[in-house]
Symmetry: C2
Subunit: 314 residues, 2 copies
């Protein structure tokens, strides 16, 4: 291993706020299962439980613009901000086409903002775990706030949102959005509903629909507010920041913030163990047998038995 | 276990085409890890490799309407059709609000159509595996064709589409859709691109944008056609059926169909093994320790070590 990837050096650079060290550790934690364990070990004492805001919603509602504005507002308060963009696209599209990445990159010139796109395919341990690994590195690095934005809207993305402290569900007044959001399970996971592009036609009707959709949720202690924004002009951002702060205070009062932290620790412990057990099981010999058995007509369960019975030669 | 859930009885009913037996086996395979193994074992000799069509796309483009029309067209050819709606919403919304479920339910009065919504939360082994389990049951039951429709558009849903033989990516002329589809990684996974609602304003421009987006893909042997449909009126469905048939023929000629079948077998073998290993590891004792360790301040890696070292008392 070249000296510059030595974990001792990387972590001492990391602790002095070296961006490159953060970036390299993120790459390592994603790509190298053995190093992941060591990184987690070294990171443990540095974690402070940085607040995590999830931002989700259907394509085209303006999530990235809203994220940028949230970053600006929080920077104005002197906070160091980490942004994780969870993007199911492959390295081929890689988000490189996007106007919002250009917008983001203006923000990324700010040395107190750390942006990372998660290339999700093939990452160890699934999308939700990968996101937590990156968020923990940003936490240990000293970020005061972490924004997690998903591009897709599916099961994996809903799971990610469940690990955020406050989840913003962003919708636009476009016809049928709130129904589509119900379908995708979004209205249920939102702690705050954001009606973005609220200057558009149909915004009032959309607002009423969203209120109706929220009333279909089983009643809970926290009633999600609907905040109207026009992120392109920065309108409504103060109200949104206040709503996030109210939700944070609610979580603190209810002891939920601690429960979130414990839940994430539990998932991490579990993921390290399961990765290890799987890594130990899938020896080159067993992987070869798996390929052979899948290609011939052996019934699935007899293939399973052969693999479980197989003893690797020493 | 009540007699009616006895697997001998269920499978003999299943083999005579009893819908209720299919439905109960789907429920069992989803909820009971031990029975899943036995169901897979009994199902193995019944599998014929039924053709699987995946249908995906952003919310609101008319995927369900298109699915219904595809079902009708295939029923008109005398085919027995299975439909799996992969819906990330919780049991609370459960898809029950939806107009398209009403539309679907008309079709479901047809005794040769089998529709199943996958309630995905908490299913064993992940969304993609759960979908395969249901598809295999429909295959063994005697379906001639299986449609797999996703409601969300995210990583898990992209993974599901990768297990289909032919993937339809459905878009509408709404502004920005093709860019949004690129962002979500959709254009890359489509074997056929469907421009639905092609009567709407902007359809011609959208078509040109989609062609341009397709040209950004790395060149492959199969060039995805763009088919214009207006599913509400059934327009373009014949062309779509022809395109699916061309793609199927292409897969057969290239030996890809066999490779798909082997890939799915491999995933299934792997999932049964990993579920078993995890089930063996997570004894009640270890689960208790996990909860304890996550709640106190033990570093993650020392918690991992305690769990790996723990020996369950006999």
């Amino acid at each position: 291993m070249p000296a510059r990837y030595d974990l001792n050096t990387l972590f001492s650079d990391f602790k002095t706020g070296n961006r490159l060290a953060l970036s390299r550790l993120i790459t390592l934690v994603e790509s190298d299962s053995a190093r992941r364990d060591e990184i987690i070990e070294r990171l443990s004492p540095l974690l402070s439980g940085t607040y995590r805001i999830g931002i989700t919603g259907p394509p085209g509602v303006g999530k990235s613009t809203l994220s940028s504005e949230l970053v600006k507002k929080n920077r104005a308060k002197g906070r160091v901000v980490g942004v994780i963009a969870v993007d199911p696209s492959s390295p081929f599209t890689g988000g490189a086409l996007l106007g919002d990445r250009v917008r983001m990159s203006k923000i990324s010139l700010d040395p107190q903002v750390y942006i990372r796109s998660l290339a999700t395919r093939g990452s160890l341990g699934g999308l939700s775990i990968a996101t937590q690994d990156v968020a923990d590195l940003m936490d240990g690095f000293g970020c005061d706030l972490i924004l997690i934005e998903t591009v897709g809207v599916g099961q994996a993305e809903l799971d990610i949102m469940q690990t955020a402290d406050t989840t913003l569900v962003v919708l636009s007044p476009e016809s049928g959005d709130s129904i589509q959001a119900m379908k995708a399970g979004l209205m249920e996971i939102g702690d705050i509903i954001v009606l973005n592009k609220c200057d558009r036609q149909g915004a009032d009707r959309a607002y009423i629909e969203m209120e109706a959709a929220l009333h279909l949720r089983p009643p809970k202690d926290w009633e999600p507010p609907i905040i109207k924004t026009f992120a392109n002009r920065g309108d409504g951002l103060c109200e949104l920041m206040d709503a996030v702060e109210s939700h944070r205070q609610y979580l603190i009062d209810e002891g939920e913030l601690t429960r979130h932290f414990i839940k994430r620790r539990k998932e991490k412990i579990r993921s390290v163990i399961e990765e290890k057990l799987m890594g130990d099981f899938w020896t080159p010999g067993r992987l070869r047998i798996l390929s052979d058995l899948a290609s011939n007509d052996a019934p699935v369960m007899s293939a399973v038995k052969s693999l479980l019975d197989y003893q690797e030669k020493k």
